[in-house]
């Protein structure tokens, strides 16, 4: 692992820059954030940037959790409110509401989407062996979005699968017509 390359991936924008990151070379890094007091995480290599909330342009007849699209340096990026998608907490938009822009690089294509979360918390260093499978019962988050669970101190962090997170359900387009 190249620390330098990883350091470049660490998102820095305005006041949301993350301080005090301990680099441990043998582990992967995950960005954690909160949705209604619960902790979630995504692979930090997928994080394009962290933006503050701005009102997007509505996509006609899209599902309610798709807030619309924004212009990110000339690229049209859809914005998905994870709280609505997972039906956790309340979708309110304040100055501290942030959007984590994730890019998932598939073999031949890549996709960039923004996800609205309550707040960004930390960066975790996790050995791959420390990611535990999630138990298959209950919860608001459908299992296909969950990669596993990470124990961080006394808390449990849900690691999300970015590729699946970006998949749009077939009927998204007509869901609310």
């Amino acid at each position: 692992m190249n620390i330098q390359a990883m350091a470049n991936e660490i998102p820095v924008e305005g006041e949301h820059s993350i301080e005090g990151i301990d680099f441990i070379t043998s582990a992967d890094q995950y960005l954690t954030f909160t949705l209604a007091h619960e902790q979630y995480a995504v692979d930090i290599l997928c994080v394009e940037e962290i933006r503050s909330w701005e009102r997007p342009t509505i996509i006609p007849n899209s599902p309610s959790y798709i807030q619309g699209v924004i212009n990110m340096r000339g690229v049209i990026v859809p914005i998905i409110d994870l709280r609505l998608k997972f039906s956790i907490g309340e979708a309110s938009y304040t100055e501290t509401t942030v959007v984590i822009v994730l890019t998932y690089q598939a073999e031949s294509s890549s996709r960039t989407m923004g996800f609205v979360v309550d707040a960004v918390s930390d960066v975790l260093n996790v050995e791959s062996g420390d990611i535990k499978p999630a138990p298959h019962f209950g919860g608001c988050v459908p299992p296909q979005y969950i990669e596993g669970l990470i124990n961080a101190d006394s808390k449990v962090v849900t690691l999300l699968n970015v590729a699946n997170l970006q998949l749009l359900e077939k009927d998204d387009n007509h869901a609310s017509i």
Binding site: T57, N61, G68, N71, I76
Partner: protein, 700 residues
């Protein structure tokens, strides 16, 4: 050392296709005695052959060689230019194209066709004297070391052709160990020396595994200007090199002036050897298969103008930043000027960049003379193609996609439009039918017209056929243009017999769909007995669109200008409600269904009453509808961005763009919106929003 030339394959292919086009148009216009034209056709074939050989496309080389030979005879006047030969050559052009395409894509090709044509070429060639065919490379491999004795007596004038014995000797030295003995006995007295002449001769001894041909090849260029005698010294064993002196260039290269009385013996040792690949090895790297990327050749003038504009932009920028670093209100004028200048620069820069993608439409038109020529032969009708406006520029992408629809329209004109000569004569028309192709700019669009002076479209035939096919009701009253539009209905064909030219009624609907996919439209006009006219209206580019910005609620939408018929304020007296749930607006003789955008897109609008609302009348698929919006904003050019990259296709939306303030605006897809309205109407019983009056009806 190997040099990888595969990077030049794309440019060779591009050049070859251009060459083939040149050959084709040249052949179509070829008249006896037009030597410049035949030369240029020959050159094109010649270049293709040369390039193909380089890249190891042997079938192209072999085939083109025949073509070239035939052209060579024509060029030299050894062969008359006959229609038969021209036909064979035209066919050959197709074959070469086929072969090159196959080589490019690594595909199979129709070898029967190639063989037949090549047989015909061979037969044609046998009728007339043929040129000597010595393209084969003779390569012999000799592994055994031999002792050669070479006597090389150059003529006095050898140096005048730029040949220099010293290089010949070094080339020989590369073959093995060379012992050089110069004979200066014929050197005249100093006073008599002509510095331009060469007085020396050499006796050489070469120990090498090269063949005698290899040695002869080195002297190939001077064989007529020297006495050359190469023998193999069978008896002699390889001897130890005597005193080794290295060749001194300065010393030797001035040999005509050299005052050297003694015979000297030198041994030239081989220089670090360049690894020479003996076989004419084909480049093995396969060209990338069917890459869609494509390339554009841009004239230097266009690039220069870009550079100039960027220069101006930089000046404006530095002026503005200087102004900004120390700004007070007294400099407001300068700021305004500077910003205006910036606007101007940006606009010009945008236009220049767009111009790079613009190519003259002749690229698409070029193949039509051949097409009409072939169709004329096939149908036995006489006709002429007149092309106008071929310099009209069009975006490369649009150009690539408009070719096929145009081919179909021309086939259609030949097949259904132009009458056989005897009928034309009987109707008092000229014997030759005329098909004309015209392109011109109109507003921000390009218009391509395809017209013929044939029989025109028989309105009743079309009408009856449509009734027969169940496309319309027998009692329907339709305007002429509505009837003509039926031609574009899927499955519609009026040809009495199916011919292999216009096909089986597949086509015209595809033509229309392709044109619509490009954001264009097609109109038909016809006068019975006088001919028909198909008018294709296309945007100049797919990357930029002229749009009308409209406001609905908080959202800004963009309606493509090309689809707007007119915009108006709704006046109550023209409003009609039919079937209880459909609002129509009377626009002169048309009744236009009203689609409220807010309803279709399920957003909040300021204005949800019909009275006094704004209506933008748009047209798609021959259907006019009125889009109800809150407000009309500016008209402007917008750069089209795809929603599919990071999201997916959205019904009723063709893309998005970024407005001046950095926000995103959706571009409306009119046909898509009409489709949405239809679907919605079908589900109208399950209306989810009872607080909104249902206004969209099934108007079709």
């Amino acid at each position: 050392m190997t040099v990888d030339l595969s990077q030049f394959i794309p440019s060779f292919l591009e050049e070859s296709f251009e060459g083939l086009e040149l050959m084709e148009s040249g052949l179509l216009n070829l008249q006896a005695g037009d030597s410049e034209l035949i030369h240029s056709i020959f050159r094109a074939a010649h270049s293709i052959k040369g390039g193909a050989g380089t890249f190891g496309f042997e079938n192209v080389t072999d085939f083109t060689h025949l073509v070239e030979t035939l052209l060579d005879e024509m060029r030299d006047g050894r062969r008359e230019i006959t229609n038969d030969d021209t036909e064979i050559l035209l066919e050959s052009v197709d074959c070469i194209r086929l072969l090159i395409e196959a080589a490019r894509d690594g595909d199979e090709y129709d070898s029967d066709k190639i063989e037949q044509t090549s047989d015909r070429l061979t037969i044609a060639l046998e009728k007339k004297p043929t040129t000597d065919n010595n393209d084969s490379f003779k390569e012999e491999k000799c592994t055994k070391e031999k002792h050669y004795i070479i006597n090389f007596v150059p003529e006095l004038s050898l140096a005048k052709t730029g040949n220099d014995p010293i290089f010949l000797l070094s080339a020989l030295a590369e073959l093995g160990t060379l012992t050089v003995k110069a004979d200066s006995s014929t050197l005249p007295a100093l006073n008599d020396i002509d510095p331009l002449e060469l007085y020396l001769s050499w006796q050489l001894r070469l120990i090498s595994d090269a063949s005698i041909e290899d040695i002869e090849e080195i002297f190939e260029w001077v064989e007529d200007e020297c006495e050359l005698d190469i023998t193999i010294d069978e008896a002699n064993q390889p001897e130890k090199n005597p005193e080794q002196t290295t060749l001194n260039k300065n010393h030797e290269s001035e040999e005509p002036l050299k005052q050297n009385n003694d015979e000297e013996t030198q041994v030239i040792t081989p220089e670090p050897k360049i690894e020479v690949v003996k076989e004419n090895s084909p480049i093995t790297a396969k060209p990338k298969a069917k890459s869609d990327v494509g390339s554009i050749r841009v004239g230097v003038d266009k690039v220069d103008s870009l550079i100039n504009l960027v220069g101006e932009l930089v000046i404006t920028q530095s002026m503005l930043s200087e102004l900004g670093s120390d700004f007070d209100l007294s400099k407001l004028d300068r700021l305004t000027n500077g910003l205006e200048q910036l606007l101007q620069n940006t606009k010009e820069l945008q236009e220049s960049v767009m111009r790079i993608r613009m190519l003259p439409i002749s690229f698409a038109f070029n193949r039509f003379p051949r097409l009409v020529h072939d169709l004329a032969i096939k149908t036995g009708k006489e006709m002429e193609l007149i092309i106008k406006g071929e310099q009209t520029e069009l975006d490369k992408t649009v150009m690539e996609q408009i070719g096929d629809p145009l081919v179909h329209l021309i086939r259609n004109a030949v097949d259904h439009g132009i009458e056989p000569s005897e009928i034309r004569l009987a109707n008092g028309k000229s014997k030759k039918g005329i098909i004309s192709l015209d392109a011109y700019h109109q507003g921000g669009n390009i218009v391509i017209e395809i017209s013929d002076d044939g029989s025109g479209i028989n309105r009743d035939n079309v009408f009856n056929k449509a009734v027969e096919k169940g496309l319309i009701d027998a009692n329907a009253t339709l305007s002429d243009s509505q009837v003509y539009d039926l031609l574009f209905e899927p499955g519609f064909s009026t040809a009495q017999e199916v011919t292999d030219i216009s096909g089986r009624g597949v086509g015209m609907d595809v033509v229309k769909r392709n044109i619509q996919a490009l954001g264009g439209r097609i109109q038909v006009d016809s006068t019975p007995g006088q001919g028909s006219n198909f008018k294709v209206n296309l945007p100049l580019t797919l990357a930029i669109l002229d749009g009308q910005l409209v406001k609905v609620g908080t959202e800004t939408y963009i309606i493509p200008l090309i689809s707007i018929v007119e915009s108006l304020q709704i006046e109550k007296e023209f409003l009609n409600r039919v079937s209880g749930d459909m609002d129509l607006y009377r626009l002169r003789e048309d009744n236009v269904p009203i689609l409220p955008v807010f309803q279709l897109f399920n957003i909040d609008a300021q204005c949800n009453e019909l009275d006094n609302a704004l209506l933008v009348v748009v047209e798609a698929d021959g259907q006019k509808v009125g889009l109800m919006v809150d407000d009309l904003l500016a008209q402007q050019q917008v750069v089209i961005k795809s929603l599919k990259d990071n999201y997916q296709q959205v019904l009723g939306i063709s893309g998005a763009t970024i407005l001046g303030d950095g926000s995103v605006a959706m571009i409306l897809d009119i046909p898509g919106m009409i489709q949405m309205a239809l679907e919605k109407a079908q589900r109208s019983q399950h209306q989810k929003y009872p607080n909104q009056i249902e206004k969209v009806g099934g108007y079709n």
